[in-house]
């Protein structure tokens, strides 16, 4: 005992630089805003919290970048391993994705909730993107089911918790692939912004639409496009309708900010952020677009931009800023000030809504019988608008809208369009409807 008391504490040598995307998210942190996303899995049986806690405790050490705390350096922020107790599973709340102050929750940037049959994981975006979060959620879920007696093999999004973390999982993959010879300029044009009545603090309105993947696929096929292209077009259509309903004196282009998972194009095992944004848009000043024209336009845009060459150029542009020697030596508080200013003045005005598609999820065969569906929530939007996130599992496709405004016009136009195309939609919501 005595020896232990006087034993030297091990010198902390492990820490992680924030990746290229993660640098921006902590800068935008406000008292009433954090870049937090939520991934949920619905099981077929109600969740047992004590067993879930055991699963979390066993799983988290396998994900060192998620079991970490964010710290301020003189020039950049960084992540350092967090050995404080937690994170503790807690009963779910009505207002998901609430702000996540860095010093609260024992400095964990993770929250794990349970409610009835649902396990939800909320993570700060500076730890990783949705794909990284999905690895964590599925590994926790697999471990939870194992604790209950199920036999689940590793594979896909389920990692082996007894294995040492692969260095490739912790890397900043942007740096490896930002090597194009040219830096294409970033698009920056003032776009239409949804105006709405702000909800009081601590409110996040969620509207989830549950659809059949096959039905959506068949409709998208009729338009000769993919599901993502079709749903993008529907959201652009909804935003155009919303703009028209406001009878504006001056119309503005509507544009969607859509993250693209770069792992599809650049092989990487990273569990951290590895996404870049593309901006499909429609400009009503050029004339009235029919829905078919919007679909075609989005299809052409995606075909043109989503390829290895363009995406490499895009990440090179982003990485160039971070690599610039003059920018590197500027103290953090000045960087924070400039980035926040740039984000609120330019970046936030650059898109009318956000849309992300996690795509069709694959889970290990042995896990399928235990799962009902997956839900996703892109988190609180930075300004008064609505964010849309899509995820599908087996034949269930979930579209989750999250907004902190009272009006649900965009959601209404969106789902009504799907109904008009013959897709059956079931709606769930946490909005006060009494």
């Amino acid at each position: 005992m005595r020896q232990n008391k006087h034993a030297k504490k091990p010198v902390r040598t492990t820490w992680y630089k924030l990746d290229l995307s993660a640098i921006v998210y902590p800068t935008l942190q406000r008292r009433d805003f954090s870049s937090v996303y939520r991934l949920s899995v619905l099981l077929k049986e109600p969740v047992k919290p004590d067993i879930l806690q055991t699963a979390v405790d066993k799983t988290l050490p396998r994900f060192p970048t998620y079991k970490s705390a964010i710290r301020k350096g003189l020039f950049w922020r960084y992540l350092e391993p967090n050995n404080r107790p937690g994170p503790f599973v807690q009963r779910d709340i009505n207002n998901p994705c609430m702000p996540m102050p860095f010093k609260a929750n024992n400095r964990y940037l993770l929250r794990i909730y349970y409610y009835d049959c649902r396990i939800s994981l909320e993570a700060h975006h500076s730890l990783g993107d949705g794909t990284g979060g999905m690895y964590l959620l599925q590994t926790i879920t697999a471990q939870y089911l194992r604790e209950l007696g199920a036999s689940i093999k590793c594979g896909g999004f389920v990692l082996d918790i007894h294995e040492e973390p692969d260095p490739g999982e912790l890397e900043d993959a942007y740096m490896r692939y930002s090597n194009a010879n040219v830096r294409p300029p970033r698009p920056s044009e003032k776009t239409y912004r949804v105006r709405g009545t702000k909800e009081p603090f601590y409110t996040l309105n969620i509207i989830n639409g549950i659809l059949s993947s096959t039905e959506v696929k068949n409709v998208a096929k009729q338009y000769h496009v993919t599901i993502t292209e079709y749903l993008n077009a529907v959201l652009l259509y909804a935003l155009l309708e919303k703009q028209e309903s406001e009878k504006p004196l001056k119309r503005l282009p509507v544009r969607i900010a859509m993250p693209v998972n770069l792992r599809r194009f650049f092989p990487s095992k990273t569990l951290r952020n590895f996404i870049t944004m593309i901006y499909p848009s429609v400009d009503p000043r050029l004339g009235e677009y029919s829905f078919e024209e919007i679909v075609l336009h989005v299809h052409n845009y995606m075909q043109y931009y989503i390829n290895e060459k363009f995406l490499r150029g895009d990440i090179t542009t982003n990485a160039a800023t971070q690599r610039h020697p003059l920018i590197r030596i500027v103290p953090l508080f000045l960087k924070d000030f400039v980035v926040r200013l740039f984000y609120t003045r330019v970046q936030d005005k650059n898109s009318s809504a956000g849309l992300t598609n996690m795509g069709a999820l694959k889970v290990p065969e042995d896990m399928v019988p235990y799962l009902e569906r997956f839900d996703i929530c892109m988190g609180q939007p930075f300004s008064r608008r609505t964010n849309c996130a899509i995820i599908s599992f087996q034949d269930t496709l979930t579209i989750g809208f999250a907004s902190s405004i009272k009006e649900a016009d965009v959601e209404r136009y969106f789902f009504r369009r799907l109904i008009r195309d013959g897709i059956h939609v079931t709606i769930e919501s946490n909005r006060e409807t009494s």
């Binding site: 779910d92 709340i93 609260a104 639409g209 959601e411 919501s429 946490n430």
Partner: protein
Amino acid sequence: MSYCVHCGVELDPSLKKCPLCSTPVLDPNNIPYFEASSPYPSQKGKVEPVRRKDAAIFVSILLLTISITCGLLNRLVFSRNLWSLLVIGFCLVIWVICIPFIFYRKLSPYLAVLLDGLSISFYLYLISRLTGSADWLYYLGLPIVALFTLLLEAFMLLIMKINHSFFSVTLYIFSLIPLSCIGIELLCRNFLESPLRITWSAIVLTVCVVFIIAIVTIILLPRVREEARRRLHF
């Protein structure tokens, strides 16, 4: 199973209205349908307050170290007079000012300002003890600190209880500036044993009265108020 008659979407059994268009779900044949439990919990979450203990400990230790080292330096090396009392008093004032920000955030702002006033008064008392002169303290120092404490308390009361819009706050500031100037001038004259009348503070008062009348006019005329708000927004 209910459908919204306007949107055509199927609604979760827990919903009483369509979340998209607020049309109520009406099913005359099945009234107790609303008993279904919601897929979302009703309890709202709140952000855990941030612990500022580390900052509090750091500031206290820093100020305490400065006080002790200066005290020792005064006692052992430069011991001609009690100059270290000035440094210790200053550290105390800083510590008291820091209380509502890092030690106890729930402290009533009125009490915080009162404590600030008391600590500054105590600091002035230390100076008077050190310099061996007390006149200025009783006739000038303490009355001015009391005056400013009182005006600050009044300012906070007005902001918190009456109105804190941009124009109201400007009005309060322009009302309190001449009061403080008149107070300072009268106290100075009293201390110097000059006749009690106002000179330079009368100019400040006149300028402020012009501003006050202009602001009151703006506040009372809604059209002008909106116009001014638009033009002055920042």
